[in-house]
């Protein structure tokens, strides 16, 4: 994090996933598959329901896809909430609120196993906080701020994050830059006094810049990127192979 110009910066906002908390080498298809496996085991253990992991994997994938298609078509600046996602999934499968809770816990449990704190960034942020710069987190996610704070507290103990903002809570995302003015208003700090750190070229760099923030893009380690690509390819190949 050397060479970052902090002149005039009063707030550092940080993306969460793959910035403050780094995902492991499991790509998204693999993550969804892990969620389905865990949810299937929990449904059997806690609710006595025998549902195949394959069925839950397909349902989880389709629900996410259709929820975002509906949103992109009707409200492109909005966000799907995690609660709505798991409730819709449970209902579409003929289940109720208790099963929706199981799906929610399965998701969070898998998140915990696949995330780790970005210690070098957090150390740097802690130093900036001690110099009087306010540190916040801004995440494009369907989770609430309370859930993200819970993950940070568990996985990055002693972190300097003073406040968490999520697209699900604010109904606005980084993808369209709509979230940044809302965060600036809530912090009562002009956009020009923000440094925004994140890994996504569109949401964290281009959109932050277009909203008047000073962006700084960070990159996951190359080895992790390569491993994820291999994992995604393996998942695609596995789908083509019949399970025996």
């Amino acid at each position: 994090m050397k060479g970052i110009d902090l002149e005039g910066i009063r707030v550092i906002s940080c993306d969460v996933f793959d910035t403050l908390l780094r995902r492991n080498a499991t790509a998204e298809p693999g993550r969804v598959r892990h969620v389905a496996e865990r949810a299937a085991a929990m449904l059997l253990r806690e609710r006595g329901l025998l549902v195949s992991k394959e069925a839950l994997w397909r349902a989880r994938r389709n629900v996410q896809h259709l929820a975002y298609r509906a949103l992109d078509m009707a409200d492109p600046t909005g966000e799907v909430t995690f609660d709505a996602l798991v409730q819709g999934m449970a209902l579409s499968l003929g289940f109720g609120p208790a099963e929706a809770q199981v799906f929610a816990r399965a998701e969070i449990e898998v998140e915990r196993t696949q995330l780790a704190s970005n210690t070098s960034l957090l150390t740097w942020l802690t130093r900036r906080a001690s110099e009087g710069i306010r540190i916040i987190a801004v995440s494009d996610t369907w989770h609430t701020a309370a859930t993200i704070r819970g993950l940070l507290d568990d996985l990055a103990e002693g972190h300097p994050i003073a406040k968490v903002y999520t697209s699900a809570d604010l109904g606005a995302s980084k993808r369209t830059a709509a979230i940044f003015p809302k965060v600036a208003d809530a912090e009562d700090v002009p956009a020009g006094a923000f440094l925004h750190i994140g890994d996504d070229a569109q949401a964290d760099e281009r959109m932050a810049r277009s909203a008047g923030l000073r962006p700084h893009r960070i990159f996951p380690p190359r080895l992790v990127i390569l491993e994820r690509r291999l994992d995604a390819a393996r998942a695609r190949l596995a789908r083509k192979m019949p399970e025996r």
Partner: protein, 401 residues
């Protein structure tokens, strides 16, 4: 060589069985996805789902059978919309925009402006001067329409369009956001309505979405293909097999009712489709395929909801086998009746045109097997190889763009 008659006698029982075992899971998956898509639609209080005549009328029966079997409640109010591309085209005639001009240009290529007028007005008694009898050209058509000689045309179209707008207001109950549910593919209707009825926010949830003719697609931002979303057949994507034989989906879903062309002048307008007994005729199925679909749906229960997608995945593979590598039994089951060309015209297109080339068939793989009973499999392999190359070429062009 005559393509007119199938080599094997039709078997309704086999067709019903195919409808139940293959098409049933595919349409159950569609209904489940339609439910999920609506569930996540924002602003539900101002949104409704309208099933477009004619294919949509059967999609509504499929959707309602799914709701009844699953015990799920509908996320949005729904109704039938009496519409066709012709009716949608009329909505934009007062101020013709690119969607209308593109659509008319495609539909009436090589025909005269007078033929376009006849389709739009459905009134052969309108006398048109010689200037209307030139080959259709968009700019000239707009000029004629706006001139004195187009006054009667404008009046007739405005009356029919006004009746449709009253019908729309009634079935949507004045809601500001409408999801059109239809079979597919390109979604001309939603594109035309976006232009012609701009005070409504339009969306489309189709069985399949495909820009198979590579036209402009500004409306794809609001159009989802719930079961299939590809611009062409891809040999390693089973779902895209329907793009090789779209006539099958249309035959399964389109009831034996006339396309919507006109409306009565009553306060509650009645379309020409709504002849006595029309609702009973939606489910009437001489082929057996649609009956099979409903049989499958009626046997579903809420306990089976988690397995619908997995069952559908297997059914898509079976459908691909039947369409791309048809055996003689598949040919017998999937030999279908001719269908009207639509857009206000009555001439029919045939699955296997009599005396025609294989390339003019609505199902080329079926035509190959029918014509070459012994060596047909070799022909199918060549076709599949050609499709693979074509897909890779398209894919590489898209990546370069």
């Amino acid at each position: 060589m005559n393509f007119a008659l199938p080599l094997f006698p039709r078997s309704d029982l086999a067709a019903e069985c195919f409808g139940c075992e293959v098409l049933g899971p595919i349409f159950a998956e569609f209904a489940q996805r339609l439910w999920t898509f609506q569930y996540y639609m924002p602003d539900k209080h101002d949104t409704c789902l309208l099933f477009c005549a004619r294919g949509g009328l059967r999609l509504r029966q499929i959707y309602e059978a799914f709701l009844a079997a699953s015990g799920l409640s509908a996320p949005l109010p729904h109704a039938d919309l009496m519409i066709s591309r012709l009716v949608a085209a009329r909505t934009g005639l007062a101020a013709p925009g690119p969607a209308l001009i593109d659509e008319l240009g495609r539909e009436f290529e090589g025909q005269t402006t007078a033929e376009v007028v006849l389709a739009l007005t459905q009134d052969p008694s309108i006398r048109l001067g010689p200037e209307w009898h030139h080959p259709f050209e968009a700019g000239a058509f707009v000029g004629l329409l706006e001139g004195e000689s187009g006054r009667l045309v404008r009046q007739v179209v405005a009356r029919l369009d006004g009746a449709f707008r009253r019908h729309l207001a009634q079935v949507s109950q004045g809601r500001g956001r409408v999801i059109l549910c239809d079979t597919g593919l390109y979604g001309s209707t939603v594109r035309l309505l976006q232009e012609g009825v701009p005070h409504v926010q339009w969306f489309a949830a189709q069985f399949a979405r495909s820009n198979y003719k590579r036209f402009a697609t500004p409306h794809f931002d609001v159009t989802v293909g719930l079961s299939v979303e590809q611009d062409g057949y891809c040999p390693w994507n089973a779902r895209t097999c329907v793009l090789r034989f779209w006539h099958l989906i249309e035959s399964v879903l389109e009831p034996d009712l006339t396309s919507v062309k006109s409306f009565s002048n009553e306060p509650v307008p009645r379309s020409n489709l709504e002849e006595p007994g029309w609702q009973d005729r939606i489910g009437e199925d001489r082929q057996g395929l649609f009956t099979g679909v409903l049989t499958y749906l009626s046997g579903l229960s809420s306990e089976q909801l988690p397995d619908i997608e997995t069952a559908a995945e297997e059914a898509w593979e079976r459908l691909r086998q039947a369409i791309i590598w048809p055996g003689h039994e598949d040919l017998a089951v999937l030999s279908l009746s001719p269908r009207a060309r639509d857009f206000g015209r009555i001439e029919a297109v045939h699955q296997f045109p009599e005396g025609g080339a294989i390339t003019s068939s609505l199902w080329r793989e079926g035509a190959v097997v029918q014509r070459y009973r012994q060596t047909g499999r070799f022909g199918l392999a060549l076709l599949e190889a050609a499709h693979s190359l074509r897909f890779l070429k398209r894919w590489s062009t898209a990546r370069r763009a």
